[in-house]
């Protein structure tokens, strides 16, 4: 057999590099994510500024809006990682050459970097535009990391599933939403906690557990989803 740990890593790294190399030449996903995120940000700041939402209602509402922005941007930009392979028919070559687990990790890593880049872009602007006070910035960073990871891993697996179906656009949202909902609830709760400075109870371990569980599920289910 051809397996050895170091070359498996090299395979995953090759997939990751290939994704970014292609992405830099077209900028398609980056543009989609950025456009989506900024449009949503503008709408949010409009609704809180000129239309006047009170500050107290704001602190309850703002974490939700942040995560909805992230969710919809991810849904707009991430599925392309697998959908495009099927549409341009490069999936055939990939099926015949790549080890499934390495492929999954490479794509996941790519999705992760997209999500983190998105969060790095959106969150400071969002906090500034809405004048949201953050009591524990450290916790906020942790939530963005763990929550962003959850978004990426769930979306990558669901993208792999719908890429082989018809009506991919709407189907992704339909399948991803129930999967991502627990993640979103936990992330919003923890963001509120980070903003208000209260102590996080069991929510953070639960978020990390969610990430772990979906990762394991992804590693086990992806080979079966990817290959007949």
């Amino acid at each position: 057999m051809r397996h050895s740990a170091s070359t498996w890593v090299a395979e995953a790294a090759a997939v990751f590099m290939k994704e970014w190399r292609c992405e830099f030449r077209t900028r398609y996903s980056l543009n989609t994510l950025a456009l989506f995120a900024f449009t949503t940000l503008v709408v949010v700041s409009f609704s809180l500024g000129p239309l006047g939402v009170s500050l107290s209602k704001g602190t309850a509402l703002l974490p939700v809006l942040l995560w909805i922005t992230l969710l919809f941007s991810v849904a707009a930009g991430l599925p392309r990682a697998f959908v495009q392979e099927e549409e341009t028919q490069t999936a055939m070559a990939l099926r015949l050459a790549a080890t499934p687990s390495a492929l999954f990790c490479g794509k996941l890593l790519y999705g992760l970097t997209l999500v983190f880049a998105l969060e790095a872009l959106v969150t400071p602007v969002y906090v500034a535009m809405t004048s949201l006070a953050i009591a524990s910035p450290g916790l906020l960073v942790v939530v963005l990391a763990a929550g962003g990871y959850g978004l990426a891993v769930g979306s990558t697996l669901v993208a792999a599933i719908i890429a082989q179906a018809r009506t991919k656009g709407t189907l992704f949202s339909v399948l991803a939403f129930p999967v991502l909902l627990p993640l979103l609830v936990l992330a919003v709760e923890l963001t509120r906690v980070a903003a208000s400075g209260t102590a996080p109870d069991v929510a953070l371990p639960q978020l990390l557990l969610y990430d772990a569980v979906v990762t394991v599920a992804g590693l086990m289910l992806f080979p079966v989803v990817w290959n007949p």
Partner: protein, 219 residues
């Protein structure tokens, strides 16, 4: 033999219905006769969940133990039935909520968790409808069912902890003691058994119908 069991089920469910209205006492703290809905609403929610577990088990058997189309079919039918029972549980729950809390929908965590489970079922069925090839369809929907299985506990355990629950205290509390009057327990558990039997009976029938339909479409 099958006919005998079917009649037995009919008899059992009839007794359950009679028992719900005549044998069991009213629960304390509920308005009028409304607590009787408990004997139907709760078992249907249980059975909907059982359907999901059964579908996940069949999905795992399909994926990892031989790719037998019968397992794929059994999983799909279990999800369909789980959806039906789940919708009924949601509707009966909403009716009860209207009586007790004044509104059909309150964003109570249990209501919401059940609804999101139904979203899972509907998503599963939407996925199946979007894949034409039988082998691919079986593979993808089984994988999604298993993904749903690992995520659902988070829905049920996470969401209620975050918001205040309007739902009555769980019947079985932390000490494991059941806080319900004995006669109510009798009817409730009998109803649970009846609905479970009903589920599997309908499941069996529907699988056989679906098998015939599959054979016909392949001719």
């Amino acid at each position: 033999m099958k006919k005998l069991l079917a009649w037995l089920l009919w008899l059992w469910m009839s007794l359950v219905i009679l028992g719900a209205f005549l044998y069991a006492p009213l629960a304390k703290g509920f308005i009028g006769e409304s607590s009787r809905i408990l004997f139907f609403h709760v078992p249907m929610a249980w059975v909907s969940f059982v359907g999901f577990i059964a579908a996940a088990v069949w999905s795992a058997r399909y994926l990892f133990f031989g790719r037998d189309p019968r397992h794929d079919r059994a999983a799909a039918v279990a999800i369909e039935l789980g959806l039906v029972f789940g919708v009924l549980a949601t509707v009966t729950g909403a009716l009860w909520a209207r009586i007790m809390w004044g509104a059909y929908w309150n964003w109570d965590p249990r209501q919401t968790s059940l609804l999101v489970s139904l979203l899972f079922y509907a998503a599963y069925l939407a996925l199946r409808a979007a894949v034409d090839d039988r082998e691919t369809r079986g593979r993808l929907s089984a994988a999604y069912a298993l993904l749903g299985l690992v995520v659902t506990p988070f829905l049920y355990w996470v969401v209620p902890r975050i918001t205040y629950s309007l739902h009555p205290d769980p019947v079985v509390n932390a000490q494991g003691k059941v806080e319900m009057e004995a006669r109510m327990q009798h009817v409730l558990y009998a109803s649970g058994i009846g609905f479970a039997a009903l589920f599997f009976w309908i499941h069996n029938l529907q699988c056989r119908v679906q098998a015939l339909l599959d054979r016909k479409s392949a001719l």
